[in-house]
């Protein structure tokens, strides 16, 4: 005859091998549950011979609670616990995910609206629409009403032009928001993952985090996986059909990869991924700031590498 103690979200129970539950204390509410260790201690003092419940017998104890009178308690307590867990589950990672997604959406929306404004303004001043290539400058021009006297655009009523200018104002507001969000993203990343920020930059770093679903997972990923984040489609096509494997995913946008010669880009992406993997680990395990060193190291290596290649090319053929 051995006694054991088992605690779950319902209460604390002393169980006898033969008799079942011999003593119990149900938790009245969530506050009582959070002080469960005190109850357990009290029980242990009362039953000094009692052991913690053996793991191999879990099904037998769980069967004791498969009773309808406990159902509403299970429902309430689990909802409370889940709500608390959800509250605690929000981290800096989530801010980064949301900001980078917002930035992407804003970029799309700004472009779309600017294009629409160009179509619209074309009726009024076609020279302005074609003369200015940058969307931002064009929107500013609309607000200033740069229409030359000899324009062949229609002479519109003041109210019609005012509507176009209203749209231009909104577009300017959205691009201001975009800049503000970029600054915010950088400030969050500076706090959360400074090394990653230093090597990858805010946008690529945030996209890497998003693809890896958080800093923890990014830190645990091998460098070869980081190299191919964002190239999943090509990778799976390579694995299923045996086509050529991708060399880079998101890292393609990185200035170092962009600067490299096309034949070198795979190598650069690999070296960069190595350093990024180190950075993610430094950030996750709070290791200190080495991001800038890594970036300089990479730049140096790459500069030396390209020189070597050029020298080889210059050797005249015999």
């Amino acid at each position: 005859m051995t006694k054991t103690i088992f605690t779950n979200i319902l209460g604390c129970f002393v169980i006898d091998d033969n008799k079942g539950i011999i003593e119990q204390k149900l938790f009245a509410d969530y506050a009582a549950y959070s002080q469960r260790e005190d109850v357990e201690k009290a029980f242990r003092a009362k039953h000094p011979k009692a052991l913690p419940f053996p793991e191999e017998n879990f099904p037998t104890i769980l069967a004791l609670f498969a009773d309808q009178r406990y159902f509403s308690l299970f429902h309430e307590r689990n909802i409370e616990l889940t709500k608390a867990a959800l509250k605690a589950a929000v981290s800096d990672d989530d801010f980064i995910f949301q900001t980078i997604s917002t930035l992407k959406d804003l970029d799309k929306i700004c472009n779309m609206l600017a294009k629409r404004l160009r179509e619209w303004y074309d009726l009024y001043a076609p020279e302005v629409v074609r003369g200015i290539e940058s969307h931002a400058q064009f929107v500013a021009a609309v607000l200033e009403r740069q229409k030359s006297a000899d324009s062949f655009g229609a002479d519109l009523a003041e109210t019609d032009v005012a509507e176009m200018q209203e749209l231009a104002r909104k577009i300017q507001g959205l691009s201001a928001l975009q800049e503000q969000q970029e600054a915010y993203l950088e400030s969050v990343m500076k706090k959360h993952c400074p090394n990653l920020l230093a090597v990858a930059g805010a946008k690529i770093g945030a996209q890497l985090l998003d693809h890896a679903k958080g800093l923890k997972r990014l830190a645990l990923l091998p460098a070869s996986t980081i190299q191919l984040l964002g190239a999943e489609k090509a990778l799976f096509r390579h694995m299923t059909t045996g086509s050529r494997s991708p060399k880079y995913g998101l890292l393609y946008q990185h200035p170092l990869v962009q600067k490299a010669r096309p034949s070198e880009r795979g190598k650069v992406a690999r070296m960069l991924a190595d350093k990024l993997s180190l950075c993610a680990r430094l950030d996750f395990f709070k290791g200190g700031l080495h991001g800038k060193e890594y970036l300089q190291e990479l730049e140096k290596k790459l500069a030396a590498n390209t020189l070597q290649k050029q020298k080889k090319k210059r050797v005249p053929k015999p």
């Binding site: 099904p59 159902f71 429902h75 307590r77 689990n78 867990a85 929000v90 980078i100 959406d105 694995m239």
Partner: protein
């Protein structure tokens, strides 16, 4: 999940694998699906007219009307996933979509016993937004209990709202790979249902069944071939999983869920 999917996923929409498996058939398609008998024939043949009234399905706790599957609505008047509500003889029924729910697809494929009865305790691993779970909650009724487990906060927020309405559901933010995390929050279950996208999904299922499933209880495992290995043929993987389960349990049903669910199969076991 892509960032857009995170924002774009409306309440009640399951994550799709990019092939649009969660699409609901529109009204015209629904008519076509159930349209074995036209309206004129219906008026001519009284015995076939019976097919068009709500009838108990041969699977317990389910109902059918034409080819569509229904459960009796636990909370009449409420349709949390914008599904079709049908009234018949004073009762309200909710329609299950086989393209969104693997349980529904399993019954569509001809499974005769899914093991879920009124008053059962169900452990549901991988509830997500709770689409299938809401129908299981209908099936077990107010006297049953469903433990819903998912590790993702985004979908769990949806599920908490569903569980607050339905008193027979208990949500848990936990990882099914670590049963010790939630062992103090559940009780012995009559049915274990698992639908999770993990490479070791069979292992997780066996582990959870051994801990939480009563003797003679039913286990339902939705096997996602694409999560196990993208390079291997799904059928080969299904057989592997089946053999793995047969070592521990009795397999009583095995259905491949094409075309409603791509690269998925469902295995029903008894402990």
């Amino acid at each position: 999940m892509s960032p857009n999917a995170r924002i774009g996923a409306r309440r009640g929409e399951r994550r799709t694998n990019g092939r649009g498996q969660a699409r609901r058939p529109n009204k015209d398609e629904q008519k076509k699906e159930g349209g074995n008998f036209g309206r004129t024939e219906q008026s001519r043949l009284p015995e076939q007219q019976k097919e068009w009234s709500m009838q108990p399905h041969h699977v317990f706790e389910l109902y059918q009307k034409g080819r569509h599957l229904f459960t009796k609505n636990l909370l009449p008047g409420k349709a949390p996933f914008a599904e079709q509500l049908v009234r018949d003889k004073g009762e309200e029924y909710r329609q299950m979509d086989p393209r969104r729910s693997k349980l529904s697809a399993l019954v569509h494929k001809g499974c005769t016993n899914v093991g879920i009865r009124t008053g059962n305790i169900v452990l549901y691993l991988g509830v997500s937004h709770g689409y299938t779970a809401s129908f299981v909650s209908d099936m077990i009724g107010p006297d049953g209990l469903l433990f819903g487990i998912d590790p993702a906060p985004r979908v769990m927020r949806d599920f908490v709202f569903l569980a607050e309405e339905r008193k027979n559901m208990a949500p848990m933010l936990a990882d099914a790979n670590h049963p010790e995390e939630y062992i103090s929050r559940v009780c012995l279950a009559d049915v274990v249902y698992q639908d999770i996208a993990q490479r070791n999904q069979a292992e997780i299922f066996i582990k959870n069944c051994q801990l939480f499933l009563k003797k003679d209880g039913y286990g339902l495992l939705a096997v996602k071939a694409r999560s196990i290995d993208v390079t291997k043929r799904p059928k080969v993987l299904f057989e592997d999983v089946r053999r793995q389960l047969e070592k521990v349990f009795t397999v009583i049903d095995f259905r491949i869920l094409e075309p409603e669910q791509r690269d998925h199969c469902m295995i029903v076991v008894k402990k």
